[in-house]
Amino acid sequence: MINIENLSVRFDNAEVLQSINLDIPEGTWSCLVGPNGAGKTTLLRTMLGMQPYSGSIKYNGREIAKNKSLNIAFVPQRPSIPAAMSVAEYVMLGRAKLDGWGKESAHSRNIVHEMLEATQLLGMQSQSVNTLSGGEMQRVLIARALVQEPEVMLLDEPTSALDLHHQIAVLNKVEEIKATGVTIISTMHDITLGAMYAERIIIMQSGRVLLDGESQSVIHSPELRSAFDDRISVHLLENGRPVIIAAKRAAGLDQGVI
């Protein structure tokens, strides 16, 4: 269980996170949604211990900043891998926290093999990363995080650079990871996609949590539209599944069936 209490983060004189309170149960998927600058990525970085903060972030009762043994993996939005690095080399770095830097035990090479297989990357391990497509690269980033055998996995916009086919493939993979007991916290721009996979949606705006709750209740909440300044419209598919799209006010779109 992750308990965030009265969390605030300041950059210079600006308060980029303001009095955040969240309780995130183990083995669940929470999705942070909000416009650019809402503080989603800052919240993830603070949970990694990169940002000085006031308030508290506890994992199973222990403050995250003081708990060096806690294994939190991070999947970045954009890779910053040197072009000449091979897939296996990059994924292997994920074992550094468990094995020590520069070590590559037989067990670790097994795990890397296993995770490359699980992310359909086997056979590409010797390829340099600059030869990969967007979807393959995203799977490489996830494989790197997976070999870390994390308790918590933070994903920053895991689908932003992908086409729909690869978005679904990546999110299905994350769902499988969650099923193994890993707590997932992701940021996403696409609330519809977020609600399809995460059981919990947290809407952020200007460093605050505006809405927080079970995905379906957040999506159907009347406050959702005001959270997006009435610039979205919610539509229901025939199967009852909601679709949220940017609203064009002049068109007079409103909630309805499409």
């Binding site: 970085r45 990694l48 770095l93 890397v112 490359l116 030869t131």
Partner: protein, 338 residues
């Protein structure tokens, strides 16, 4: 490779091969010249065995060729290793101590030491060169705006800072005509006047810097990840970055102050080793140091023998070999990514 395991990222045999290459280069370096020495006799002399070299040949080996080869190896190792480290730290395959202004800054520092000091400056030179190098790198990043400026901004800032340092260095030289000769002899490369004193002070600083860089080489791989990933693996990238840049700048500054401006080693050697091994990891750093050392020893051998009895500046040889090689690497890389 076992069926359910990935291949090892790094093998000690690669490092061992690089060490053997260095030994062979050193043997060629001390053996060949206007007077060729017998390899068997060289080895016997170095190991203190009977029937080694005698008289002039012994002096030629121990007092002229050996210090020169050792200095060349130290400088080559320093330039190649710091080049590789700069490339990792700045996530820029073109980053090189010279491009970021460290060498020009070190040159200016060394010139200030020569023009304002008297007597034996060899002990003070590296300190001045180091301060000059550090200040120039700091100025480059200040001009570029931030630590992870895009590569072109960073390189342009480095060129501007380097040009300023070189201009200031030229001004100081012109104002102190008595210092012109020592400054120019230093710029053209002091491998020609290498002696055990130079080897001692340069070796002291370079070996400290290399020791630090090789010690942190495994953790340096964390700098190839995003800062968030590095943190998630328990590493503070800022701390590692600072130690790495400081040690690489000390190595570069000492190399420049000992041997003048020798270009391309910092780019060619890391690319050669990483290209041949198909690995980007910094665990290659020790191999890069060995190959850099071997490269400069062989380049110096060329400088001494190609126009014998005249000598070519060693920087001319490294550029002759380095520039086409670099273009070849760039072309191969472009093809690979198409």
């Amino acid at each position: 490779m076992k069926k359910n395991q990935i291949d090892r990222v790094w093998r000690w045999q690669i490092t061992a091969s690089a060490a053997v290459a260095l030994l062979i280069a050193c043997l060629l370096g001390v053996g060949f010249g206007p007077v060729n020495l017998n390899f068997g006799s060289i080895i016997k002399t170095l190991l203190g065995l009977p029937n080694g070299l005698e008289n002039e040949d012994r002096t030629l080996l121990l007092e002229l060729r050996l210090p020169r080869v050792v200095l060349g190896a130290l400088v080559g190792a320093a330039l190649a290793t710091s080049g590789a480290v700069y490339q990792s730290v700045f996530r820029n395959p073109l980053a090189d101590p010279y491009l970021l202004g460290a060498a020009s800054g070190a040159g200016l520092g060394a010139t200030i030491a020569i023009t304002n000091g008297g007597g034996d400056l060899h002990a003070l030179l590296p300190i001045f060169a180091f301060l000059g190098g550090v200040l120039a790198v700091a100025a480059t990043f200040l001009v570029a705006g931030r630590l992870f400026a895009d590569p072109s901004t960073l390189l342009l800032a480095g060129i501007a800072v380097g040009s300023f340092a070189t201009a200031f260095q030229t001004y100081l030289q012109q104002r102190n005509s008595a210092a012109l000769r020592p400054v120019y002899s230093w710029i053209l490369g002091e491998l020609t006047v290498a002696n055990w004193d130079v080897v001692k002070w340069a070796g002291f600083y370079i070996l400290i810097a290399l020791f630090v860089l090789i010690r942190i080489s495994k953790v340096l791989d964390a700098l190839m990840l995003s800062d968030e990933e590095a943190y998630s693996l328990g590493v503070s990238p800022q701390k590692i970055r600072l130690i790495a840049v400081a040690a690489a700048t000390l190595a570069t500054a000492t190399a420049v102050s000992a041997s003048g401006l020798i270009g391309f080693v910092g780019i060619v050697v890391p690319h050669l080793v990483r290209g041949l091994t198909k690995r980007a990891t910094n665990r290659s750093l020790l191999s890069i140091a060995f190959v850099g050392a071997a490269f400069l020893v062989i380049a110096d051998l060329g400088a001494r023998t190609l126009l014998s009895p005249a000598e070519l500046p060693i920087g001319v040889i490294t550029a002759f070999v380095g520039a086409p090689f670099f273009l070849f690497v760039l072309r191969a890389r472009n093809r690979g990514s198409q």
